[in-house]
Symmetry: C2
Subunit: 359 residues, 2 copies
């Protein structure tokens, strides 16, 4: 059963006439066609019964037809893509499912103007649910992406030297993984040193690395359309006892959560387990974000692994586990792995060592 | 007058109580704080009168406070950011302006649930209009970004050699500009060779460059939050007469449009002028996209330079001019510059030569 057929079963169950899928990641999921349409219209029309089609900028039709063997409608910048879309509907549409978490208010109004009296409902959760459980074909790509992320950290460690800037290392690491086949980075690579490690979402710059710094790498690559996301923090020069204590606390928190992963455990239990370790060590106030996030076609997807999420883990879910302590006077440390829930436990996709590396 | 004060004047004129700005680029425009919040809430609340505030993930508060000196509200992953937002409103809100082209249907429903009977209106066009005309401060950044784009093309030409792959050159070019201070690339860099040049939005890969290829570079960098976007197509080995004819046709089309730029000319007149040159040369069917797009904080912003846009150019507008011919049997060629409308003509920001370079 293709993914489109699977969605059609959902549409029949929900008694809607069709879905119009516009999130680029979901368009990729259903058609294999990856595109960033910017402000242009990109979407897949999937009727409960009948022929689906992809609509995209005309200039992308050749690329789309290489991966998607269904019908493709190309629109020109000079024509109204929404008029064209509605004119191509392959079934009468009175009830249309859309992605409410992606479709803008403006686009919703475009549809309502063109489809008299249309009833719009949300299909987001059902697509999320499909994407939540990875197939073996998807896991193959995720493993490759994780392997390249490990390699990136290895390269990063090799490149650290007195006087090099964060940006020097960042660009060399990105070149190295792209040369090994990464399609792109999954997000803006982070190489942070010294006091900057204490900012969970800091920006790399021209700060020169010096002895006594911790260096934090947070990066990921895209392979076959699937993302990895890894964080490692290493020491340049002998760490102080306080720095070492923070490192070991984060590591213990991370490993505690990883060890808990198996079907039936709740997402919030993972967050609580890691947070307890950090709180008991006296650093609770310095762990200011959730434990992790789902990973797949998107670098941040469902499920969110935080203290209020009652979701029970199921085989095939993939997410990150990434506790951190951000101490403005001592150092910041984060350690992050990508994990898959297996039939009876966990597969850790990222395999780079979590022993404290002192360079 | 700050940008926030300017917007407040618009809100008073429209008789709305406040605006809630959520597009990351617009948040940067009003606050100087650049962030990719992924699915998390990021926004600026700007009342017609009274105190504005930024709301962002709690872990980003330290970074935000370095650039924005107004009030900042941080939200945790475990609390409901929308409840928090509404509880912090600094004025009573019955009429709220939102960005309909950015706010999702889901988020609109979150607001409506929490603000009984709120009337939502669109503020998009007014913010677009503010951003459309660049200040001198903004132009300084745009010039720097264009200068680095020129440098990237120079590097790219230097790197072309028999047997190198598109990705080899791409990664080396990106490293080079990042080492020179580019914050990031403005979009996925394109290095396409041989037959791949005929795909306007193709994907670079491991194809090895060989004699007789045209090589197309399309890239841009971000400096101080502002983007550049340049395309040059060069020949590796002596081009055939047909390739040369296509090149010179595109160049003539591009230069014809650039020469027309001055206040009062319509956007569509630029598109028509370039398209005429290409059509008269017999390649009209192979120029499948608009002439160009606005450029600034976003790499694609207002105005769209296409054949139906009646917008009259005004001093301070910045956009690309990028005609192309994509001939599947001969070659693809695109040439793109970034231009500013000046008081009485045009300033071309990208300065790399448009003479056909034969390597």
């Amino acid at each position: 059963m293709t993914k489109i057929t699977q969605l059609q079963a959902v549409l029949k169950e929900q008694q809607v006439d069709a879905a119009f899928i516009t999130t680029p990641d979901n368009v990729f999921y259903f058609t294999g066609f990856r595109s960033n349409p910017h402000e242009r219209l990109l979407g897949v029309f999937i009727p409960a019964e009948g022929e689906s089609f992809l609509i995209c900028p005309k200039m992308e039709v050749p690329d789309a037809s290489e991966v998607f063997d269904g019908k493709i409608i190309g629109h020109m910048d000079t024509e109204n893509a929404w008029d064209l879309l509605v004119s191509q509907f392959t079934v009468p549409v009175a009830k249309l499912a859309i992605e409410k978490s992606h479709m803008t208010v403006e686009r919703k109004e475009f549809l309502e103007e063109r489809i008299q009296g249309v009833a719009l409902s949300a299909i987001d959760d059902r697509v999320t649910e499909m994407r939540l459980i990875k197939t073996e074909v998807e896991l193959v790509q995720l493993r490759k992406a994780a392997e390249l992320a490990d390699y990136a950290i290895e390269e990063g460690c090799r490149l650290i030297a007195e006087g090099k800037t964060e940006m020097d290392i960042l660009t060399a690491v990105e070149s190295a993984v792209k040369a090994k086949g990464a399609e792109s980075m999954s997000f803006s690579t982070m190489v942070l040193s010294g006091p900057k490690t204490a900012s969970p979402h800091g920006t790399p710059g021209n700060r020169k690395i010096q002895k006594g710094d911790f260096v934090l790498f947070d990066l990921g690559v895209v392979v076959g359309g699937y993302c990895s996301d890894i964080t490692r923090t290493v020491a340049f020069g002998e760490p102080t006892p306080e720095q070492r204590e923070i490192y070991e606390t984060v590591r213990h928190a991370e490993e505690t959560a990883v060890a808990l992963v198996r079907p039936g455990v709740l997402a919030k239990e993972l967050d609580a387990a890691a947070r307890n370790v950090i709180t008991e060590a006296g650093y609770g106030d310095f762990f200011t974000h959730r434990l992790g996030h789902g990973l797949g076609i998107s670098v941040h997807e469902y499920p969110s692994v935080h203290g209020e999420n009652d979701l029970a883990l199921r085989e095939g879910m993939v997410f990150t586990i990434e506790p951190g302590i951000y101490h403005p006077e001592i150092t910041g440390v984060r350690i992050e792995d990508d994990v898959v829930v297996t039939k009876d436990g966990v597969e850790v996709l990222t395999k780079f060592t979590k022993d404290l590396i002192v360079l």
